[in-house]
């Protein structure tokens, strides 16, 4: 699966409209994921996972910032996320199935806050983008 020029343009344009709320959306997506898919909580035994948790908000911002890095480097996502890729492979070892769950909750969050811009074509491009990020983050697992 390859990001076309249109996909890249769609993702860049949409991301540009988030208006600095990226971090907040990251936190909301995590919150949604923990509630809709409780198995994902097993990776955060050291966190307070109650809604509104400062740790979840902080982690959401981390996730959003990494995605922004990817958006700014769509021509070389593996290069841009190489360190994160190492981290997930050797230290975090989050089972690959969970990236789909977080990606889905990110799409829900983005659709909810930006329904007019979340057209079917943009939805498709974002889905492909998040799948690309997930592939990069799990690329060194074995």
């Amino acid at each position: 699966m390859v990001l076309s020029a249109t996909d890249k343009a769609n993702v860049k344009t949409f991301w540009g409209k988030l208006g600095g709320h990226g971090g907040e959306y990251g936190g909301e997506a995590l919150d949604r994921m923990f509630q809709a898919h409780p198995t994902t909580k097993t990776y955060f035994p050291h966190f307070d996972l109650n809604p509104g948790s400062a740790q979840v908000k902080g982690h959401g911002k981390k996730v959003a910032d990494a995605l922004t890095t990817a958006v700014n480097n769509l021509d070389d996502v593996p290069g841009a996320l190489s360190a994160l890729s190492d981290l997930h492979a050797h230290k975090l070892r989050v089972d690959p199935v969970n990236f789909k769950l977080l990606s889905h909750c990110l799409l829900v969050t983005l659709a909810l806050h930006h329904p007019a811009d979340f057209t079917p074509a943009v939805h498709a491009s974002l889905d492909k983008f998040l799948a690309t990020v997930a592939t990069v983050l799990t690329s060194k697992y074995r």
Partner: protein, 147 residues
């Protein structure tokens, strides 16, 4: 077997009361065909599916989307017995339609996204979680008779 609490059922039925079944069905099916183009394999007879706007405007997509979502209504009326409710449809999807059950999961998630885009902040994490359980239960029920 999906077990929904009283609160989860209330969250589901509360939202469903405000859903435009015809529009939402068409939009969900349309987005499935746009976002996961390989799902178009089941719809050779639907005519023009050549672009997102062609798909979203296609009258057969809209009609079929309405059909699918109307049958979801049965799920909501029978949340405690999804397997029996969807037994016949499960046989149909296996024996006649030959649809990989993974497609039910994909459509369920697209439905959740469409609901989120329509209901905004009302689609709270709790409401989403209840709907995820329901769409997952429906997908499982629809795969139950596969052999």
């Amino acid at each position: 077997m999906v077990h929904l609490t009283t609160e989860e059922k209330a969250a589901i039925t509360g939202l469903w009361a405000k859903v435009n079944v015809e529009e939402t069905g068409g939009e969900a099916l349309g987005r499935l065909l746009v976002v996961y183009p390989w799902t178009q394999r089941f719809f050779d007879t639907f005519g023009n599916l050549s672009s997102p706007s062609a798909i979203m405007g296609n009258p057969k997509v809209k009609a079929h989307g309405k059909k699918v979502l109307t049958s979801f209504e049965d799920a909501i009326k029978n949340m405690d017995n999804l397997k029996d409710t969807f037994a016949k449809l499960s046989e149909l999807h296996c024996d006649k339609l030959h649809v990989d059950p993974e497609n039910f999961r994909l459509l369920g998630n697209v439905m959740v996204i469409v609901l989120a885009s329509h209901f905004g902040k009302d689609f709270t994490p709790q409401v989403q979680a209840a709907w995820q359980k329901l769409v997952s239960g429906v997908a499982t029920a629809l795969s139950h008779k596969y052999h």
